[in-house]
């Protein structure tokens, strides 16, 4: 049976995107499957990346644009892999592509369809910090810059009001198509790359930390969006009431590490970055980083961290990360912890940022089942047969890169992606 020269990449974060462009340059056809309506992954949720404070959009947007304009790359957003049959060199893949209800070619992304939409929804992509319409793009600058309609919430599509055609009427290009149907696609591919990334650990269950109970407690990703100039507050650092500016902030490292049972590798740097952001925007604010071990695994990281320590934040050691307790007292958040002498100590702050652990992306167990590959006890894809220096999975022809394999920073994700490209090209060109 002949071998397919076509590669399927699942996940459009930095790892998936890098592989896409490289494979296309090497003359392969690529299909990029992304479950969301936009490509770019988690990187685009960050305003700036550590340690050089590169603007994330500036890093990623040219890559996104190149992918969208590359005729060898077929980008399938709102899509998921349903079934995989066959072997290395010759997989048959069934993909479910959900209807966007907006024509990708006709739409210019002018945004005229949002204002007339009568439905207002919570915007999950913005960490629930703002709202969106039933026809929406998750954030300004989303690529492809084409809205999607939430079929369950759209009054027309869910049957509440079949007369509601307000978005259609507002569109000057006839781009909105409320009769679009989900599609089943079948592809023949020679190799598959899993680059499905990570999600953040849900920390509502860790009751002592008060997340979900006290509005002043934020997750790291919520704070990223709060700081983002295309985020819910356009980068204005205010509390949930939309006006109060915090005067003191505690950033807690290693949140959920006991539960996940691994270090998430990026949080110390991300938390140092958050202290840097805060100090930069609120120069008078008192900032604390409460840590138990500082992990800075790159030649460039310590310098940044030391700079933050010297200028932006007071780093406090806590001797037992499971003994932290956050309560409310006199309108302030009281952060209780065990200090370097194992004594109960506390500080009072307006805002707490919890650097919660990274975990396998939602839906990775189903995907691992569909692909028929092994995962480790945490649910991350396990590289095999050697865990050492390998991007191959338990099934020949299927490779893994980025945080789908375990928590890691952007450069380590890109390195794995480039390594996976070497494996894929070796396989397909052999």
């Amino acid at each position: 049976m002949s071998r397919s020269d076509h590669v399927l990449i699942i996940g459009s974060g930095v790892a998936g995107m890098e592989a896409c462009l490289m494979l296309s340059k090497a003359g392969k056809k690529v299909t990029l499957v992304e479950k969301l309506s936009l490509i770019g992954g988690k990187t685009i949720k960050n305003e700036e990346t550590f340690p050089n404070m590169d603007c994330s959009t500036c890093l990623v947007a040219p890559i996104q644009q190149e992918i969208l304009q590359d005729s060898s790359i077929n980008v399938l957003t709102l899509s998921s892999v349903e079934e995989v049959k066959g072997d290395a060199g010759n997989f048959t893949v069934a993909i479910n592509k959900k209807a966007r209800y907006v024509d990708m070619i006709a739409c210019l992304g002018c945004g005229m369809c949002y204002p007339p939409c009568p439905v207002e929804l919570i915007n999950e992509w913005e960490e629930n910090l703002t709202t969106k319409k039933a026809v929406y793009v998750p954030c300004a600058g989303a690529l492809p810059n084409v809205p999607v309609i939430d079929a369950e919430k759209c009054l027309h599509l869910n049957g509440t009001d079949l007369e509601c055609n307000k978005c259609m009427e507002a569109c000057m290009f006839g781009a909105i198509n409320l009769t679009e149907k989900d599609e089943k696609l079948e592809l023949n591919v020679g190799a598959i790359l899993i680059a499905t990334g990570y999600d953040m650990l849900d920390i509502c269950a860790i009751k002592d930390l008060g997340y979900g109970q006290y509005p002043g407690v934020y997750t790291a990703m919520e704070f990223e969006r709060l700081f983002a100039s295309n985020g819910p507050t356009e980068g204005k650092l205010v509390m949930r009431d939309g006006e109060t500016i915090p005067t003191s902030v505690a950033i807690i490292h290693c949140v959920g590490r006991t539960q996940t049972h691994y270090c998430s590798a990026v949080c110390c740097m991300a938390s140092s970055k958050h202290a840097h952001f805060l100090h930069h925007k609120l120069s008078d604010a008192q900032i604390y980083n409460i840590y138990s071990d500082i992990c800075l695994p790159d030649k460039t990281y310590q310098k940044f961290h030391e700079d933050v320590k010297a200028h932006s934040s007071q780093f406090i050691y806590q001797s037992d990360r499971d003994k932290m307790k956050i309560t409310e007292e006199n309108g302030k958040l009281k952060v209780g912890y065990l200090d370097n002498n194992n004594k109960d100590t506390s500080i009072q702050v307006d805002m707490v940022i919890l650097a919660n652990a990274l975990k396998p992306a939602v839906g990775s167990d189903e995907l691992e089942k569909v692909l028929g590959i092994n995962h480790d006890k945490f649910g991350f894809v396990e590289a095999q047969p050697f865990r050492i220096g390998s991007v191959t999975t338990s099934k020949p022809g299927i490779f893994v890169a980025g945080c789908a394999e375990g928590p890691k920073d952007i450069q380590s994700s890109v390195i794995q992606s480039e390594a996976a490209v070497a494996e894929i090209l070796s396989l397909l060109n052999s």
Partner: protein, 562 residues
């Protein structure tokens, strides 16, 4: 042939059309006083980037025999390539086209329609002035050599060699010592999380040696290299006899020269005075590999061992990333050797960034090892005086000390950087082209850096980086495929160059060399990226970057500022 400029205004649906007066633009542009002798075609289209729009533009260029094209539309980030590709389908050289951004620069930011229209007209006028001064440029195609030179025969270099070597691609692997394997070949065992024993590493040495597409040169180092991606001319020399040289040709270079461990004798921050019973991790691994046990210099088994983390870290200014793990492994090996050996790990922070590290740490902890988090330390002989995290001053007498010292760049890193024209990070390790999104490439196209040469890295990471470099080479250097170098490059006008060499210093790509015979600087067009640094630095104004010449920029700016 007389000039005929086509000016096409894109409405971008309502995006441009509703915010500027398209008819007024057309009318004013058609009647510009300073273009009254030039034939103009001025038209508008609903959406030039659409399939229909592109076809329309293509037909317009052909039917009107346009000599120049100006598109007034959106940001070049969105559609410059789109219109360049349209030009390429026609007789019009794409460098005789100019995109004017009247969407982001006018329609989207100016509320007053009249003002937005006036600015759009001025910008289009500027684009027309510029386009007449533009010159057709032709893309060149160069043959490329798919072969690869790898410098360094450690785990990273061998991994890269094995991935790259094939019947279409020869690999030359040079190693300055007399054998392959590097530091990892000295190890006794790997971490449990690495999931393999050392045999697979030793296997790689014989795989490299028996691969007929890999030519290994031991006791050899780089003497000189010139050229660019696809065409490097290389001279290698014997380490002990510099006159014994060999010439090679290759299309890419992978630098895998590894690292060194900072010596135990230079541990300033811990005031270590006597290094008699102080060993670094590699010495312990070698001792184990050779004799099977860890012993003191007198041959006796140690009774009390202190393992000290982060030695030399404050001096070098970075975390070496792998020491916490290997010191845990050595603690385990000591306990494996004899449960009676008392082992204490002195650390400041534990850095365990792999998903399986925590498990290993928990497992080692159960072996009866003391973990002491310390703030300061002085080591006198084998007496360790320290302040612990609770600020208590304590001391511990041991009979052996094993240190996790900082990983530092290999000897000769600076000289090699100069030969290869690649940058060094302030730590002395080689600098990646972009830390985040281009981590194994360097500022010199075709030169890649992997493993310990890139920064502290363990075996696993070094192998992944080597594979990543192979991936990059597979996509940039395809056997039989031509290389198309940048067209918009700098050129030096021989007559004006005074030979001051200023441009040589500012060129970040090593694209300028000095012709001693003529006494002038010369641009190597295959390497030049057209950044323009040299143009700005040249005191005699003898350098220009194609497509961004002074007259072109002047024409555009003059009209834009009128």
């Amino acid at each position: 042939m007389s000039e005929k400029i086509g000016i096409y205004v894109c409405e971008c649906g309502p995006n441009i059309a509703s915010k500027v007066d398209i008819e007024k633009i057309k009318q004013e542009i058609s009647n510009l006083e300073d273009f009254k002798d030039v034939e103009l075609v001025v038209k508008n289209h609903k959406l030039l980037c659409s399939v229909a729009g592109k076809k329309y533009l293509e037909n317009e260029i052909n039917e009107n025999n346009l000599t120049h094209l100006v598109c007034a539309a959106c940001s070049p980030r969105d559609h410059d390539t789109t219109f360049i590709n349209v030009c390429k389908k026609t007789q019009l050289n794409p460098y005789l086209y100019q995109l004017v951004n009247i969407r982001e620069h006018c329609a989207w930011i100016i509320h007053d329609k009249e003002e937005a229209t006036a600015k759009a007209i001025r910008m289009i006028h500027a684009g027309m002035d510029r386009v007449l001064y533009q010159q057709p440029l032709e893309e060149k195609q160069l043959d490329s050599n798919p072969d690869v030179l790898i410098i360094g025969g450690g785990i990273a270099g061998m991994e890269a060699a094995l991935k790259l070597a094939s019947k279409d691609r020869m690999v030359f692997l040079i190693e300055k010592t007399d054998k392959l394997g590097g530091k990892s070949a000295k190890l006794k065992e790997l971490l449990p999380r690495q999931g393999v024993n050392l045999n697979i590493l030793h296997q790689k040495i014989s795989d490299v040696q028996s691969n007929k597409h890999i030519k290994v040169f031991t006791n050899t180092e780089l003497a000189s290299i010139v050229g660019f991606l696809g065409n490097f001319e290389i001279v290698i020399k014997a380490v002990n006899n510099p006159n014994n040289t060999t010439d090679l040709l290759a299309g890419a270079v992978v630098v895998a020269t590894g690292f060194e461990l900072k010596g135990a004798a230079s541990l300033d921050s811990y005031n270590i005075t006597d290094t008699d019973e102080i060993y670094n991790a590699l010495e312990i691994e070698e001792m184990l590999s050779q004799h099977g046990t860890i012993t003191r210099r007198n041959g006796e088994e140690p009774k009390k061992v202190a393992l000290i983390h982060c030695v030399g870290r404050s001096e070098v200014g970075y975390c070496s990333k792998i020491c916490c793990n290997y010191l845990l492994k050595i603690a385990k090996m000591l306990k494996d050797q004899s449960a009676k050996i008392e082992v204490t790990e002195f650390f400041k922070d534990l850095c365990l960034p792999n998903k399986h590290d925590e498990d290993f740490y928990e497992q080692v902890k159960t072996r009866g090892i003391d973990f002491i988090r310390f703030k300061n330390m002085t080591v006198d002989g084998t007496n360790v005086k320290f302040t612990d995290i609770s600020d208590a001053k304590k001391q511990l007498d041991v009979d052996m000390i094993i240190v996790g010292t900082a990983m530092i760049p290999a000897d000769g890193a600076k000289e090699l950087a100069e030969l290869l024209k690649i940058d060094q990070h302030e730590t002395g390790f080689y600098q990646e082209a972009h830390l985040k999104i281009n981590p194994v490439s360097t500022n010199t196209d075709g030169v890649f850096v992997v493993g310990g040469a890139h920064g502290p890295a363990g075996i696993s990471e070094s192998m992944l980086q080597a594979q990543a470099a192979a991936g990059k080479i597979f996509t940039q250097l395809i056997p039989g495929q031509k290389i198309i170098p940048e067209v918009k490059v700098s050129e030096i006008l021989e007559a004006y160059c005074t030979g001051c060499k200023t441009c040589l210093d500012v060129c970040g790509y090593g694209a300028i060399y000095f012709d001693e015979d003529k006494g002038i600087s010369v641009v190597n067009e295959a390497i030049c990226r057209g950044c323009g640094n040299c143009v700005g630095s040249c005191p005699s104004g003898s350098i220009r970057t194609r497509h961004f010449t002074n007259p072109q920029l002047y024409q555009e700016v003059k009209e834009a500022l009128r």
